[in-house]
Symmetry: C2
Subunit: 418 residues, 2 copies
């Protein structure tokens, strides 16, 4: 399938000079002029819109969008045990599917093509992503040893079920060090190694996790995972708010990627991950929204904005995490963390996950610096068209792949009972 | 003029039960059922949208939207002296008018009815606000003694010119303690007293301001203003990032309102104002965007979100500044700070500045708690209709009062030369 996107302003340009982008079979063939003899099956008039690689949400829990605004401004334990878990326990797989599809729709409408979902409902997110045409990394959150074997079985079942499905990949996801025994963590690392899959884990999210680990293991959570030999696979650690200087060096040394979820970390009172220091130490840092139950939005533009702003505040330095750096975190770094090759840049040979942004709205005037515009001025609603894997899944603010009325009907029904 | 807004979900309700709102001559007459015999001149079908009082931007610099994305990720002095001032110096009054109108449009599209503008171009913001139908508080930023008499003259000229204009009011605005001598500050306080006008000043924004004041006056900026007797009028202090515990008590004691600009404070590396502590001490705290040159957006939904989230992070407590409190800061507290009576609530007898928000978008599903929805889930693009002073100025995402094509044409022309 050959697609020609005409007349767009690439984010890497001066914000004034339009280009055409040629796409063949889901891969960008050229940015500038279409190759000689290029005969597109479909031509999309860009209308002078700003054009950027799609954003990547490297940590979320898809089904939880139906728990949005259910438990806010509460202490963590009240939030979890009274707000979230009783509702989760009532949910079935069908409800998880519609919740996941709602999350897909919300993310695509805000310029995001790819998510990394840590879930409890095997199949829900993968099915939703395939329905809407999104790129999905799915991983069953497993805890053990209690019930751990059953969960591993479900996890392997999901991997088997969706193996070979286009744009669906997998990670192995022990939930956290405080919900998995040492033996269970190592067992999962072994499974990951056997299956050649990367690993995803919540790590050093809260002061409580840090203090409990110091008490139980006499070292920090990062040191503990190093000590037991957990980091033998490509690993993505979510949150990493509570880190010592040694932890940062250890994460860099072991090639661990970190996905920061700025808004969720603030909302739950956990604080600010040291992104500037992690990046400086050479750690691959990317961004995520966490779930709509602790955010309560899945808008990656907002995450991008937070990542660029809050660390200027914590470091007292306006030059920290400039717009281009924040944008890398939300795109190419995310792809690297999820082990997806050639994703996150608007360049020849890279995957065609492309977003067109309206420029005829006040907040986009003037553009001057496209990266600053996207990171500091956009709210995400500028997203006009989203192309994923070379296919136009969202065109002029309408989905081409799903019926939103049907989706919203189901969400309303679910909200009545959850 | 009688307006009936039918079938809306009030933010103060359960998010499910619709009401009608009756408005007469710019004032809310009822929320629930229209009064017996109410014969509206205009009926607006709300379509089950969420309905809230309009947001109030209590600190901005309107003309500076044309400087958007001109100088980012830079040290403060480079930003000011190389990014902002050379462009400001090239601007004329006509350009400032179009820049101000762009800011008005951006704010209305994001649910804001009222702004407080500290400016260098007398008349620009007031004229733009009257054109588009927005509520304006205008104040000329004055510095002195050098050139100070001329600026006071311009300031008084503007007050004279717009006196009696509906929905335009004034504040007296010495720029800051580091740009005004003690005598000049006191002279302006006297003028404010004479004219019965409130006062607006930048205060304790940066570490540099704090350190310079300690060096020059042997006390903090707040203590200095107390010592010289500056706080004899109702006063609104912008920023207040660098405060001691004593400063907080002094601000409370002198009834000074504080307008926090969370995103600008972060972007310029100044840090986090102690909003939770200020509020706890009884200080009236409200919110602003600062200018599009240091933000780079005028989206009050985003400011609201930052105010609710970042202080949970700095205080390590998820219960700090809950959604309702943040919403008060962005509405009724702003009106109080700007000395506008009966503005900022959706109640009988209050001014009819009303916003309708789309609910048929993913991020608004489910609503559950309307305040949480607005503060944590909305990005501002949900704004469908804005009523200011009982008049529908923005209806189903179109302005009724201005021609946006004309506006955008002028902004493009200005961007070529500024």
């Amino acid at each position: 399938m050959d697609l020609l996107i005409k007349n767009v302003l690439p984010i890497t340009g001066d914000g004034k000079t339009p280009v055409d982008i040629a796409v063949s079979d889901g891969v960008i063939r050229s940015v500038g002029k279409a190759p000689e003899g290029f005969r597109p099956d479909e031509t999309l008039e860009g209308g002078g819109r700003l054009c950027m690689p799609a954003l990547i949400n490297a940590h979320t829990h898809m089904y939880m969008s139906v728990l949005r605004n259910a438990a806010d401004d509460l202490p963590f334990m009240t939030w979890l045990f009274e707000g979230v878990m009783p509702r989760e326990n009532k949910m079935d797989l069908d409800q998880a599917y519609w919740g996941s599809l709602l999350s897909c729709a919300e993310m695509i409408r805000r310029g995001c093509s790819t998510f990394n979902d840590m879930h409890l409902f095997p199949g829900a997110a993968a099915k939703a992503a395939m329905k809407i045409g999104m790129r999905a990394v799915v991983n069953r959150a497993v805890t053990g040893p209690e019930g751990g074997e059953r969960r591993i079985k479900e996890m392997l079942g999901e991997i088997e079920e969706f193996k070979g499905c286009k744009n669906v990949s997998f990670m192995i996801a022990p939930h956290a060090i405080y919900t998995c025994s040492t033996e269970y963590l190592l067992k999962l690392a072994d499974i990951a190694e056997e299956l050649s899959l990367p690993v995803h884990i919540h790590l050093s999210e809260s002061v409580a996790e840090m203090n409990d680990c110091l008490r139980d293991h006499g070292c920090t959570p990062v040191e503990y995972l190093v000590k037991i030999g957990f980091f033998k696979n490509p690993t993505l650690a979510a949150h990493c708010v509570q880190l010592t200087e040694t932890d940062i060096l250890l994460l860099a040394e072991h090639g661990v990627s970190v996905v920061s979820n700025p808004k969720s970390n603030l909302k739950l009172g956990n604080g600010f991950a040291p992104l500037y220091q992690l990046d400086k130490a050479g750690v691959n840092v990317c961004l995520g929204t966490d779930s709509a139950a602790s955010n309560n939005s899945l808008n990656m533009f907002s995450e991008l904005n937070y990542a660029a702003l809050i660390h200027k505040g914590t470091n007292g330095d306006p030059t920290v995490i400039p717009a281009r750096k924040a944008f890398e975190m939300a795109t190419v770094n995310g792809a690297k963390a999820l082990c997806i090759d050639n994703l996150g840049k608007l360049e020849e040979g890279w995957k065609a996950d492309i977003v067109l942004l309206d420029t005829d709205v006040p907040q986009m005037m003037p553009i001057r610096d496209p990266f600053a515009s996207v990171v500091y001025a956009c709210d995400g609603s500028e997203t006009d068209t989203v192309i994923i894997d070379g296919k136009v899944v969202y065109k002029h603010k309408e989905f081409t792949t799903i019926d939103t009325e049907e989706l919203y009907y189901h969400i309303k029904q679910i909200t009545e009972v959850i």
